[in-house]
Each structure stands twice: as C-alpha cells, then as structure tokens.
C-alpha cells in the first residue's frame, strides 16, 4: 500500500460522521464532527510550533483521540508509552524521542488550550505521520517501534476482513489505546461508523460489561478466566457479538466453557513490531489462527514464527532494523496444520507470558533483584493461580538487612516495573531450584 493511499484511509476515518465516542459511566457522547474540529485546532498549533513529535503517556480519553488525529492531520510523530510506567521509566523514553510536547494524565485535559513551544531540534523521521509504541523493555532497554501510515492502514484493512465491524457495533475499549490491539480496534470502530466506549476509570469495567450495551471487547485471558466464576457476568457476555482475546493464549478449558455457553471468542496473535495482529482465530477455532492478508507467516526449521509483509514496521527509532534477512523473528514457536492454520506452541526464549498479556524475562528480572541491597542470589518463578499468575521469588539475603520477607518484598518491588512486581518472596538459606530452568514450573 502506498503512502498517499494509506494517509487517505486514516484521514477518512475522521470524515465518518456516523461514529460516536461514548464515556462510561457518565454516558457523555461526543460526535466525530467535534473530534475533527478539536483535532484541527491542535494540528494547527503543532504546525505553527514546527513540532515534530508529541510524547503521550496517559489513560484512554477523548483528548488521547484528539492528539492521535491531530498528529495525522499535521504529519507529526506520536510517541506513546504505558502510563503505568514509573517517572524514571517514562523519562528514559522521553530522552530517546525528544518531543516538543509531553502529555500525561495531569495535563492532557489542557490539550486544547496549552501553548506548544517552537521546536528546533526535530529528529529526521518527524516530518511525516508516525505512531511510535515503546515496547516494555522486557529483554533490555525499551525500544520504540515506528509505525507509518502504510503499515497501520495495511493492518487495519486486513483486520477488518476478519473482524467485520459494522456501524451497529459498540466497542468497549478495555485495553489501552497505546496497546497494539487497542489502537487498531479504536480505528476500526471509528472508521466503520460504530460507537467507541471509553472507560472513565478501569474499576468500572465489570459494570460496563453489564450496562454499556457493547458488542465487541478486547480482553486479556485473565479477565475471561475471572468472569468464568461469575454467573451474572457470563450471562452479560452472551450479549456480545464476540470477544477478542489477546496478550496470551487462552487455555482450552476456558474456550470450551465459553463455547458451551454460546459466547464467541476470537483469539488474536500479534506484536507491536507488526502494528497489532498478524493472525486471528475464528470464534469456533479455539487456538488455531488464520494469518492476516497483510503479512506472510512461516516457521523456521527450529519452529520459530517468522513474519514479513506490509504490516511489518520499518524499524525501531533507537535500535535499528526490525527484520533479519527480510523476516521479523518473533521468538514465538508455532506450527501449521494441513489447512494452513497456525498454532502458537510456546516461546523460544525463557520469557514468561502472563495471563494479563505482559511478558517477563526471568533471568534479567533476577539480575535486577540481585542488585537490591542485601540480596546475594535469587530465583523467580511464575505460577498460575486460578484466574491470573503469581510472581514468586526465593532469595538468599545477608542477615540483619531486612526484618522479614515482607520488608524485603517491599524493597525489591520499588526497583521493578509495575508488571514485574513480586507477589511473594521467601527468604531461604539456599536456592532450591537454581540453575535448572526446567524446574521453574
């Protein structure tokens, strides 16, 4: 897909007068005409300030959407990161992209009235619309994946072929707009004239499932595992046209449970480096996936899933190319059946994929913990406990530094990112599992 056509697809979303943005629980609705008007106001300010890049780390909101579309209109790069990251983690990302504006939860509501300082040091890639998502930095420093309009539009068109959005769909946005699937589904909803329901606080999600009249929702497995135990919630889920499960595989027993109740679940497989999904499952296909038209997928001799095509991004803004010999190496293992359906079977590296969709690299996490004062050695395990996961640590510590394991856990958790925080810590004299990855459990 060429650049002009791609930009046209994204711009036309704003002309879709039928779409609406709703807020839950306040029920406040905003039309696309208002969104377009506000995006134009912000775009004008961006152009006047010669602004090449905005950094955005804030919860989902109407102003998040205004920022996104203002960047499309003004050919500005939008850098996004998970707003739950610590100040230091966010600052390290801001340092990489040198934006002219930083938007966070505490100032994004002033977007329409704030002044943008003129920018003289814009990076070369900033003279064209781009959407940069920072990866979590699980296996090293955070990497900024640069998506151009061509890759986003190619992914959008392919996703629509399988997801089939209609103007009567109401998409409950339970994931962050900066999340790959949240981003694409936000565009699909607005592009096909549906209703986008934004949660004003995540604590209202279960009530929104019950009361927001949504027809589609993207959710990680942990949510579906929890809802299984709530009969009233299961009844509510029957009203949905389908649920899209992303972030980690949903186990077969959960599929079977929901299938029996007549609830349709599609699973999505994707990665930030490929905009969002690269393969999707039909509601009745359990874990089996159909590759999207925007990409070609194959498995290497060792089983690793490799991807190439229109939706594979060109590179990282701070770490070079994404592809090796033309293919993106996912580090996921998979296999195709005779019908060409893909099943993801595991990870090539020692990465734990949590039920909430976050990934944890165990050895780097242990190295971080070993740097905490008084810790001389440790081992981390991820154990499935009911609906979610428990991150457990055994640690050998110098005597007298901590009064108990609880105090040690507090000291360790202050050094970890929000998704890495330990649920339990046991102080031991000798590690029981050290050096044997197979026994991590």
């Amino acid at each position: 897909m060429d650049k002009v056509k791609a930009k046209q697809i994204l711009t036309e979303i704003l002309q879709n007068n039928g779409a609406r943005i709703a807020h839950f629980p306040s029920q406040k609705e905003v039309s696309m005409q208002t969104l377009l008007k506000d995006a134009q106001v912000v775009a004008k300010k961006l152009i006047n300030a010669n602004c090449g890049g905005i950094f955005l780390a804030a919860p989902n909101s109407y102003h998040w959407l205004v920022t996104y579309f203002a960047c499309i209109i003004s050919d500005t790069v939008l850098y996004t990161a998970d707003f739950q990251l610590s100040e230091a983690e966010l600052n390290s990302r801001i340092e990489i992209c040198k934006p002219c504006v930083v938007l966070k939860a505490d100032n994004i509501n002033d977007l329409l009235v704030m002044e943008f300082a003129p920018q003289a040091n814009a990076l070369p890639q900033m003279r064209e619309f781009g959407f940069v998502q920072f990866t979590s930095g699980t296996t090293g420093g955070a990497k900024g994946v640069l998506m151009r309009a061509q890759q986003i539009a190619a992914n959008l068109v392919s996703m629509q072929e399988l997801c089939a959005f209609t103007p009567s769909d109401n998409f409950l946005l339970a994931s962050a707009m900066s999340h790959p699937m949240g981003h694409i589904f936000m565009l699909l909803t607005l592009g096909f004239g549906g209703k986008l329901t934004i949660l004003e606080s995540p604590v209202f999600l279960p009530r929104a499932v019950a009361d927001a009249n949504a027809t589609i929702m993207v959710t990680p497995p942990v949510m579906l595992n929890s809802f299984k135990n709530m009969p009233d919630m299961v009844e509510r889920l029957k009203k949905f046209r389908y649920l899209l499960c992303v972030g980690a595989p949903l186990d077969e027993t959960a599929y079977a449970f929901y299938r029996e109740k007549g609830i349709k679940i599609m699973n999505g497989y994707g990665m930030t480096e490929c905009v969002s999904g690269v393969a999707m499952g039909k509601p009745d296909s359990s874990g089996k996936l159909i590759p999207l038209a925007c990409c070609q997928i194959k498995t290497a001799p060792d089983g690793e899933i490799l991807v190439r095509g229109d939706c594979v991004c060109g590179g990282y803004i701070n770490a070079g190319s994404i592809c090796r010999e033309g293919w993106y190496h996912t580090n996921d293992l998979g296999e195709f059946d005779a019908q060409g359906m893909l099943t993801v079977t595991g990870r090539k590296d020692n990465l734990a994929v949590l039920q909430n969709g976050y990934k944890i690299a165990l050895e780097p996490l242990e190295e971080k913990i070993n740097r905490v004062k008084g810790v001389s050695d440790c081992i981390v395990r991820v154990v499935r406990t009911g609906a979610s996961d428990s991150i457990q640590c055994e640690a050998v510590v110098e005597s007298g530094v901590y009064k108990d394991a609880q105090e040690l856990r507090g000291a360790i958790n202050t050094t970890l990112s929000f998704y890495e925080k330990l649920d339990t810590v046991h102080i031991v004299e000798k590690l029981s599992l050290k050096g044997n990855k197979k026994q991590r459990g």
Binding site: S201, R207, T385, S390, D423
Partner: protein, 74 residues
Amino acid sequence: MKAEQIRQKLCAVLEKVNKQMPQADNMPFDMDSLALMMFIYEVENAFNIKFGLNDFDTEITPERLVFLIAAKQL
C-alpha cells in the same frame, strides 16, 4: 445501615471475590487492579449502589469505603 453492618457485609463480599480470585486475599487495598474491579462491582451489587468517578479520586481505605456506602444509602 450502620457502619458495623456495612463492615460485616463488606467482609461477605470480599469472601465471594476471594473465591472467584484466590489471590485477592487482602481487603482490597493490596489487590491488583483486576481484583479491585471485581470487588467494586460486587460491592455495588450487594449494596445496590453506584459509585461515581470522584469516589476514587482519593485512596480507597476500609474507612472510606464504609463512609461512601453509608453516604450513598442515605
């Protein structure tokens, strides 16, 4: 409903959430966000109330929860 009755009913709600989510064993202030979501939803159902956005502007402590429930039941 008196504060003590509210506390007792809250404990029953917490027990229900604990059964659904075994990790949520510390009344909700130590819960992860998912457990907190479930807890708030069950509290709304049990007391037949609706929380508003502003109710979560400040930290949710047991005392504040009891106060909020009592105020919404007036």
